[in-house]
Symmetry: C2
Subunit: 338 residues, 2 copies
């Protein structure tokens, strides 16, 4: 039997074509034993695919830049995996640039990419401090397809993939109040990011809907520096006006809080109830287990990449106003109820 194709291979193995394709591409999603079965049959029929490698050799310009603030944050690491899940299957090459939360670096990267050979960009912005003129300018100079995800330039006409931050923060805050919190606080980023603004809106609306008064000092602007953050939170939890509930809008803010509470012997959830935006697998294993709002990070990456490839391959920008909204997931654990 000569000239066997992947569909025939899959049929004989009783596997899906996508599984066979991934097994032949040595994907980390496929078990070693499945890979072995697939490769043995492929060898038997002298089927030599490796479409990824061979296309990569041939291709020109099938390159996508991913610009994100940070990879130590698990949200972005998982989103990149989602993006590459799509781009690898379509033989696009991706490279990742980190802005380290620096607006200047973000601007410099864009200038640098203007002369590059990329065919599109997927971006999560570093700041909102000065607006987003640099993205608009980049687009006018290059006409390259761009998709934003999570941290998006809300007022610009680009396709965006976001999650329902307003609603999910509203729900989480309502749960804190229902569990007895009278003075919950919100751990915020320092930057005027759209994601953060939406979450603050949700927090405020939940207070208001429960008849609680909102005051500015309920918004605590955290630092990305864990040590600075630790000191600032320590001060808050040593003060007389100690909060009885926390919504932490960023993964590491909740970790800093846990460290402070452990060291000050503040009991979670008795003394303070906690819900955090979080994508860590360890959330359920913390002591006490952390109640979380999880963003669908992997899927957000997938959707962003799918949208971008559509724009690149159809050479049309009709999708420019698309906004895809995915749902966050609220999981209540011990940090809310012992």
């Amino acid at each position: 039997m000569k000239g066997i194709n992947m569909i025939q291979l899959a049929k004989e193995l009783g596997l899906s074509v996508s599984t066979v394709s991934k097994a032949l591409g040595d994907s980390h999603e496929i078990s070693a034993s499945t890979k072995k079965r697939v490769n043995e049959l492929a060898k038997k029929y002298n089927y030599k695919p490796n479409p990824f490698a061979s296309n990569l050799r041939k291709k020109k310009g099938k390159q996508i830049a991913i610009i994100i603030p940070d990879i130590v944050n698990n949200f972005f690491a998982l989103a990149v995996d989602g993006i590459e899940h799509v781009t690898m299957a379509k033989n696009y090459d991706t490279f990742i640039y980190l802005t380290h939360e620096s607006l200047e670096r973000e601007k410099a990267l864009l200038e640098h990419l203007e002369n590059g050979l990329i065919s599109g960009l997927i971006i999560s912005v570093s700041s909102g401090r000065e607006g987003y003129g640099h993205f608009q300018e980049f687009y006018e100079n290059t006409k390259l397809p761009m998709v934003f995800f999570d941290r998006v330039p809300d007022l610009l006409q680009f396709p965006k993939v976001i999650s329902n931050n307003y609603e999910s923060t509203f729900d989480a805050t309502a749960r804190l109040i229902k569990a007895g919190c009278k003075r919950p606080i919100f751990f915020s980023t320092q930057e005027p990011l759209f994601t953060n603004m939406e979450r603050i809106r949700g927090f405020q609306a939940a207070l208001s809907s429960a008849g609680l008064l909102f005051s500015e000092d309920m918004i605590v602007k955290c630092s990305y520096d864990m040590d600075q953050n630790y000191s600032a939170l320590r001060k808050i939890f040593l003060s007389k006006k100690r909060p009885d509930g926390v919504f932490a809008s960023i993964e590491k803010f909740a970790i800093s809080l846990y460290q402070v509470c452990k060291d000050l012997e503040v009991n979670i959830p008795r003394d303070v109830k906690v819900i955090g935006m979080n994508n860590l697998r360890t959330a359920a294993l913390l002591s006490p287990s952390l109640s979380t709002v999880s963003q669908p990070s992997f899927n957000m990456g997938k959707e962003a990449a799918t949208l971008l490839l559509k724009m690149i391959e159809k050479k049309t920008y009709a999708a420019a106003n698309d906004i895809i909204v995915l749902k966050n997931e609220l999981t209540i654990r011990e940090s809310l109820h012992a």
Copy 2:
């Protein structure tokens, strides 16, 4: 006062030059208040630096490729931060490629980079299955400086930055045995990686030095797929020959084990004592807190980048045999002693 330079600025502020430089570059390492002070004085003297952005505009080919298996693993995320700490200060641009543990993808990336404009590479390998001929070939074709870190091609003549995996695994295993373990097991990667081999050597030597017999079934080959891993570990902990100690050589293997033990109500540390290779900030906050061997990931990245830039800027490859060995840190927590 015209023509003030950064040294004078730093002096007047009572800060180090590097702090001023980072503050002007909007580094995430510097506090908002320090940035404000620096920028105000810089404005007063009309000092307009932003060397990173302006050099990036001018420069050609100051680009470094980072090739790593994965960024969801915190070790690699922190190592990238260490690399970029050095490259940003020297105005090099970096892009990150993920192999997702695929040897084929790694080979394809190298072929792709042969025609690129990069001036050097920092690499942590995806596998050791077929040896490392593709790296040697790449070097012969391009003569580009390359530095390997952590997962290194042990037999090739390239500069390497590693950590003392043999010694630290020996020490950790000795602690398991001292705490009473008679049948510890080792959670291993499936690939014949040098890092993993060194750790296994350390594990075996510690057993032997304590007069315990080593058997092949003490090495449990884990999967990178968390669900597969969960099932495999569950089976082991439901078997009669349940291990009484675990050394987990990869971050997520210990997380899978915690999940299994929680679900099977196997008590850590009473029923099984655990030490894991780990760089997660949450290790100390888990229930029970996890004893860890931490690699100096950030510093390994820094050393690798420093070595690479030296090679690039001196245009000499005299450093080709350099091996820098940093020390891992063993931290004993509740998972060993309640």
